[in-house]
């Protein structure tokens, strides 16, 4: 039956062409990249994902001599010791690789409130405040050192005169020195935090 033979040959030829073409593509002999017709290579894809660059460093990369060790040591044993540096300063890998890249510093109340504003869903043991009722006119960082937060130290003696006389770091007979963020504060602000003005 000639028509069947011809039809059969036609189909056969198409099938063979398909099989050969597919084999050629799978072996990489013939590829059409725009149509994703190339040998599949999962290992290459896995390597690709592994090789992507990091954007976040880790807090531990801020430590070390020549870097921010002083702040790091202050911070790591503080109540914020589990709060990653990059939560407030942004991703730091670029800066670790090239210190010419500067990172921002965010001391806004808004940032502090994302963690510390009172929310029903937060565990009750987590320190939270109601922002409208907790010194709304002051900046959070004026009392709470970001790298070592916690309430201001209670003074154990009656305040007398100029606090800086004893508590300045440049003092010849230094009493308990002030932490870093206290530099540049006016003297009369000391008592605002340090004399019974705590929640």
């Amino acid at each position: 039956m000639k028509h069947l033979t011809r039809a059969g040959l036609l189909l056969g030829a198409a099938a063979i062409a398909f099989v050969v073409l597919r084999a050629a593509i799978l072996q990489g002999v013939f590829t059409l990249d725009e149509f994703a017709l190339r040998p599949p290579d999962r290992a290459a894809n896995q390597r690709y994902w592994m090789g992507l660059p990091a954007v976040y460093a880790a807090s531990s990369s801020c430590a070390g001599a020549g870097c921010h060790d002083d702040i790091y040591q202050l911070w790591v044993t503080s109540a914020h010791g589990t709060v990653a540096c990059e939560n407030c300063h942004g991703p730091a890998e670029a800066h670790v690789l090239d210190t010419a890249v500067r990172l921002p510093s965010n001391g806004s109340a808004e940032l502090c409130e994302t963690c510390h504003a009172q929310l029903a869903a937060r565990p009750s043991s987590f320190p939270q405040i109601e922002p409208a009722q907790h010194f709304p006119e002051s900046a959070c960082v004026s009392c709470h050192l970001p790298h070592r937060p916690g309430p201001a130290a209670t003074i154990t003696h009656a305040p007398e005169g100029d606090c800086l006389q004893c508590h300045s770091p440049t003092n010849a007979r230094p009493a308990k020195p002030m932490p870093i963020n206290h530099t540049g504060r006016a003297n009369d602000q000391c008592l605002f935090c340090h004399e019974g003005m705590k929640q």
């Binding site: 063979i16 099989v19 050969v20 597919r22 084999a23 799978l26 072996q27 994703a36 040998p39 599949p40 999962r42 290992a43 894809n45 896995q46 390597r47 690709y48 994902w49 592994m50 090789g51 992507l52 660059p53 990091a54 954007v55 976040y56 880790a58 807090s59 914020h80 589990t82 709060v83 990653a84 990059e86 939560n87 942004g90 991703p91 409130e113 994302t114 963690c115 504003a117 929310l119 029903a120 869903a121 937060r122 565990p123 987590f126």
Partner: protein, 280 residues
């Protein structure tokens, strides 16, 4: 003479036909074998991948401690930056859900902008129009559950999504055709399609599927996923389930853990501490 001509090259015509037939036949069989072997090429033996990281030595897992989560959203921020996830609200590799259970037992769930800006100043859902009276409330972080029996890789029609030997489900975004089946198949809503007008994309491809891959580029270099680094309260714990002293294994030993939607048989490797009855 004709006979001599035919035999000139040492083969006669019959022999020539036999030879070409044989070669073509062998080539045909070879082509068929290649076709049959086809997608078996896709299986990766261990050690083939790269450098000194051997995927078969690890089996990664997550523990999410919902008791600790404060809903600050830093994990979502970190993830989007680390992985170049599009900034839109409907493109998330991870997100936080807030559960509030009212006095009369209603469960109100919300996730304003996936929790990326936290929940401060975000009003509660008000199904009855009034401020609900909350009896109990908590946060639940969500991410890819790292299913051992993952439905997403099962349904991918072109074998673009696959599970690695160290237990991570990964999308080959150079091969994904963007059919969206995997997104329908994930019971946890962990996958999404990168929109064509996305502002950025993890691999530069758009119109393809994407999902949290537990920061594969970090964990294969001994680092932690970005969300784990960012979490200030230890709600996210990551480690090697093969190692009995790893952080997740320790938690799983010391306390009761659960997984999301266990009845679906997906066998997630993301374990939750502190799941409540209404959490899905």
């Amino acid at each position: 003479m004709a006979r001599d001509d035919e035999k000139m090259a040492g083969i006669d015509r019959r022999g020539f036909l036999k030879l070409t037939g044989g070669i073509l036949g062998a080539a045909g069989v070879y082509a068929i074998l290649i076709n049959v072997k086809g997608t078996a090429i896709l299986d990766i033996a261990s050690g083939q991948v790269a450098g000194d990281y051997d995927p078969s030595e690890h089996y990664w897992g997550f523990v999410i401690n919902s008791h600790n989560c404060i809903g600050c959203g830093k994990c979502v921020v970190a993830c989007k930056l680390e992985n170049r996830v599009p900034q839109r609200d409907d493109c998330n590799r991870t997100w936080i859900e807030r559960y509030q259970i009212t006095d009369d037992g209603q469960v109100l769930v919300d996730s304003p902008q996936s929790g990326i800006n936290g929940f401060v100043g975000k009003p509660s859902p008000k199904p009855s129009g009034e401020e609900p009276s909350i009896d109990k409330a908590f946060f639940v972080p969500k991410l890819c559950n790292g299913c051992d029996n993952s439905p997403c890789s099962q349904v991918c029609p072109v074998s673009a999504t696959y599970k690695t030997k160290d237990g991570i489900v990964v999308v080959d975004q150079e091969r994904c055709i963007g059919c969206g089946y995997c997104i329908q198949a994930c019971p946890y809503g962990a996958r999404y399609l990168i929109p064509h007008d996305a502002d950025r994309s993890p691999t530069g491809n758009v119109g393809v599927a994407d999902k949290c891959n537990w920061c594969y580029h970090r964990i294969t270099k001994g680092r932690l996923p970005a969300c784990v680094e960012a979490c200030p309260v230890g709600a996210r714990v990551f480690g090697d389930l093969n190692d009995p002293e790893s952080a997740p294994r320790k938690i799983m030993r010391d306390t009761r853990v659960a997984v999301l939607k266990p009845e679906l048989g997906t066998k997630p490797k993301c374990y939750y501490v502190g799941l409540d009855e209404g959490v899905r």
